[in-house]
Symmetry: C2
Subunit: 330 residues, 2 copies
Amino acid sequence: MTARPLIIDNLQYCHFDAEVFEQMHLGGVSAVHVTICYHEDFSETIANICTWNRSFESYPQWIFQGFSTTDVERAHREGRTAIIFGFQNCSPIEDNIRLIEICHRLGGRFMQLSYNNQSLLATGCYEAEDPGITRMGKQAIAEMNRVGLVVDMSHSAERSTLEAIALSTRPIAITHANPASWHAALRNKSDTVLAALTESDGMVGFSLYPHHLNQGSACTLEDFCTMIARTAEKFGVDHLGLGSDLCQKQPDSVVTWMRNGTWSKILDYGEGSADDAGFPPMPDWFRDNRDFGNIQRGLRSVGLDSAETAKIMGENWLKFYRDNFTPQSG
Amino acid sequence: MTARPLIIDNLQYCHFDAEVFEQMHLGGVSAVHVTICYHEDFSETIANICTWNRSFESYPQWIFQGFSTTDVERAHREGRTAIIFGFQNCSPIEDNIRLIEICHRLGGRFMQLSYNNQSLLATGCYEAEDPGITRMGKQAIAEMNRVGLVVDMSHSAERSTLEAIALSTRPIAITHANPASWHAALRNKSDTVLAALTESDGMVGFSLYPHHLNQGSACTLEDFCTMIARTAEKFGVDHLGLGSDLCQKQPDSVVTWMRNGTWSKILDYGEGSADDAGFPPMPDWFRDNRDFGNIQRGLRSVGLDSAETAKIMGENWLKFYRDNFTPQSG
């Protein structure tokens, strides 16, 4: 009998409810890194965590909060899902460096230094200019390193990303993006970034959000998996995982809010356009948490062996969690 | 060679600084339950926790945050002090039942349901009327039981206290008070309360705050220790500990703020008076954390044996922590 494979999805922002949690269980997903906030300040982030705590109380048969690799291993044994908290922006720490430790204590394990726009810490990928990591950003990276809150540069601009990789004494992550060499998109990452990231033991999570995919929603499983195999050839297989960016069951108003928050009076369409403003449909081979088996089979089909496939499906993230979620020793 | 005794002080609100932390070390105090707030709302409580985190970073040779019995045992081994967070009021949860779990996650282990006045949860000991535990109070007790945040009724009124003991499915604490039969004071507790408390495995921490002492600042060590021995005779030795209420190095403005917060326009003198408005001087045999040895010797002098003395000095609190700081199983 083969042991059940370990599956980790390192980025989702679904309308999380009983149906989604049950699908995580049915799909055998042992950990999901969920987005707790995009634009929320500290107190709004606390309110979102309270909403999650309500779900943990309501659905203990499927989910519980995950803080560590131990929790993911337990979820794997029990057929449940460890929910790992992360922030797609630095808004929850406001302008207070000490809120980093508070957020980590509450279970935050990933935080993006910027989300599309310039932040107090770094530049987002939609800005015209990227002056790199700010004064506060340098201190925030050091503090995140100290407490074990992983720097995530998924929505950040290139120079800021390279500087974050260089400044951080612990590996960083790009939780959800694809190589720009496969599909040119502002949110996808150059080979320069991917090389610096993986050489420093950082992780990239491959995204299934159609705007990040070659041919968008029509992207084939084979094309997606071939891209992963090529990336493994270029950068090694040890720093690759999944970060689906699944936004299941969210109304289009949510993607509008992601893009505009309260910062804009002019509608910003992000990766979409006025004609295509909503959430794009997911590829038919990845509709929800039950479809990770398709990716697993797809990776084998394009020639990755069983050990390589297991690493990409979850084991690499598990190792990364083990090394990077706890306070720095010493 | 005798093992170093385990000393726990289950209530202090000093002006905590390097001098005080070093004195904890010199006094061999393995855990101190410190007050994080009296009147502060949630965000002000977070700011106070940030201040503590700064101290943990600055003085790791003496202190670290304690969450569990394991931390206290580690502190004891290493000659350091585990700092346990607690709240003297329910102000940090505001009117949000879900902030109880957040506060516990941040390390809160004791919370008073009321501080002198009526609160959203219970009545304080200075109110003229005590209608007992409120609607929200009943739910708060159940939630505190669930997550492992201990109900503390030190500053609460009698009926509310008895109801809290009856309603709570886990033992509660009176972290800092003495028997009213020894020294009649609004803040001291009746034998009815002490019986109900100890019969339900609750703990009382004997206070060294002069307003709680027979003869005030002039109280003798022998008188104090005889009172403890009598209490042990009446209620058994297993539910007694220390909660000194030490407020070392605080200016008198702090006791004025404790009593008045922002709720009063007319100066409230609490246990003091217009003529005696400040902090009273401590008894000369208990000036600071270096003086627990005096109490230990005092307890032996009045006839308690070495095992009984060890229980009162710290072992009873340690056991109580073990049983009551973690989420309810099931």
